[in-house]
């Protein structure tokens, strides 16, 4: 499974667990308008850390906070890439 697919899968799973109605997900989806709240994102980041072995929020030297789902996915792709390198 690609990083992008794994991220999207995780969004859907957490939305289901937390009983949230989730918007259609694409690269331009604004995270805070996706129907998920801060707690959901905290869970997603923790689950992805367990699955991918990386937490780019903590690992990155230049931290920024992703605004769209596309930002979020690239954040993980970059972190996973630099970890593999």
């Amino acid at each position: 499974m690609s990083v992008a697919a794994m991220v999207v899968d995780q969004f859907r799973q957490v939305a289901r667990e937390q009983g949230k109605e989730i918007a259609e997900l694409n690269d331009d989806t604004v995270l805070l308008e996706s129907g998920l709240d801060s707690l959901c994102f905290a869970i997603i980041v923790a689950q992805l850390e367990d699955r991918l072995g990386v937490d780019p929020f903590t690992a990155a030297e230049d931290v920024y906070f992703p605004v769209t789902l596309g930002d979020f996915i690239r954040f993980y792709e970059d972190a996973a890439g630099s970890q593999a390198a």
Binding site: L32, S38, L39, V45
Partner: protein
Amino acid sequence: MPPDPRLPESGLPEMARPETLRPESLKAAIAGSEAMLYARGGQVCLSSRGRALPGLAGASVLLRTHSQLAAALGLIALDGVARRIVIAPPDVKAGHLASVIARADVEAVMGEDESLAIEGARFVPLDLSAVALAEGPQVVTEWVLFTSGTTGEPKMVAHTLAGLTGAIQPAAAADITWGTFYDIRRYGGLQILLRALLGHASLVLSDADEDVAGFLARLGRCGVTHLTGTPSHWRRALMSPANAAIAPHYVRLSGEIADQAILDSLKARFPDAAIGHAYASTEAGVGFEVTDGLEGFPASFIGRPGAVEMKVEDGRLHLRSARTASAYVGGGPDLRNDGWVDTGDVIEQRGGRFHFMGRAGGIINVGGLKINPEEVEAVINRQPGVRASRVSGRKSPITGAIVVAEVVLTEAANDNATFKEAILAACRENLPAFKVPAMLRFVPSLALTAAGKLSRNA
């Protein structure tokens, strides 16, 4: 950025300035003010006048409101009139209020409408259009706040207006508009309300049903200059495109550990703003503010003389000042030990700096709200088929921490997913959302300490 041992002038700790505001009452402080309170549905100019409050002189009053605006006006109306104001936070469980009324000797409940009334106390409607804002002080009112953490029945701590406003300096600039992501019915938010009122500044209040983008847009329209929240609030704001609407001169964080990542992100987003992280708690009051852009605080803060004294004992930060709460209301452990309040925050020195390591006693801080693991474990352990559980905090770059649970079953279950869902459903039913475990896994056993207690360090 190299650490600067000297704090910048604007961030000088309050004890360096002899001049502080000493309001006799809130009404006296705002007399003649043209400041505005902005709420979602409208705004109130504080210079307006209204009728006197009916028959609440000397009473113990529970202020229980739907909106923050009503709470602000209720506080102004009651201060100097009531003997005691008990401020109900927005998420207080209705089932706990009967005991609050008994423990705090509450005689009257004040709120916008009768849906807020509680059996056993007189209900006094709070008429927002006719709140008395301009009466002289009569009594020194005790302000009672709920602590954010703790199990079961809420703990209440008593403050005075003098203590609550002890850290507030005269406004350095005119035309300040405060905004806060906090709720003013809790300590952190109340500090901002008092700063705004004493500084004759305006304040933008959030609404319970308002989303982040909507509030940010409204903050922008109101021209917010000073904006405060927890690190978790700020992370959420940075994730919203609507943050383009705001350009605060002053950014303040408190209520949780401010890590270097969030401080750097805020500096990058608001390069011209002064950014400070403050230490405060409901029990210990406002401790100090750090303005050098670095996480933690300078080691020189420990042991320095001033309005707030700090020391480390058993690895935990202790504070002593006139701003600490005076007592628990209606029973509770002794709050002050020779004037010192144990903050429960574990700190560790690295070089010239102290860093916050988390809470002693396993207390979990999720976005500024504190959770006692035993409270969650008690709910889990009540479920059929559960032998034991351990609840702990897992670090999160989004909310500071999340609640995770490990559960031991009495016998191996065939369908773990169904079991898990049943346990979580029970948690959702009995606990506020932020206390429900975000992750739950089944484990064969849990380590115990030599004394036979659940090991909390594993």
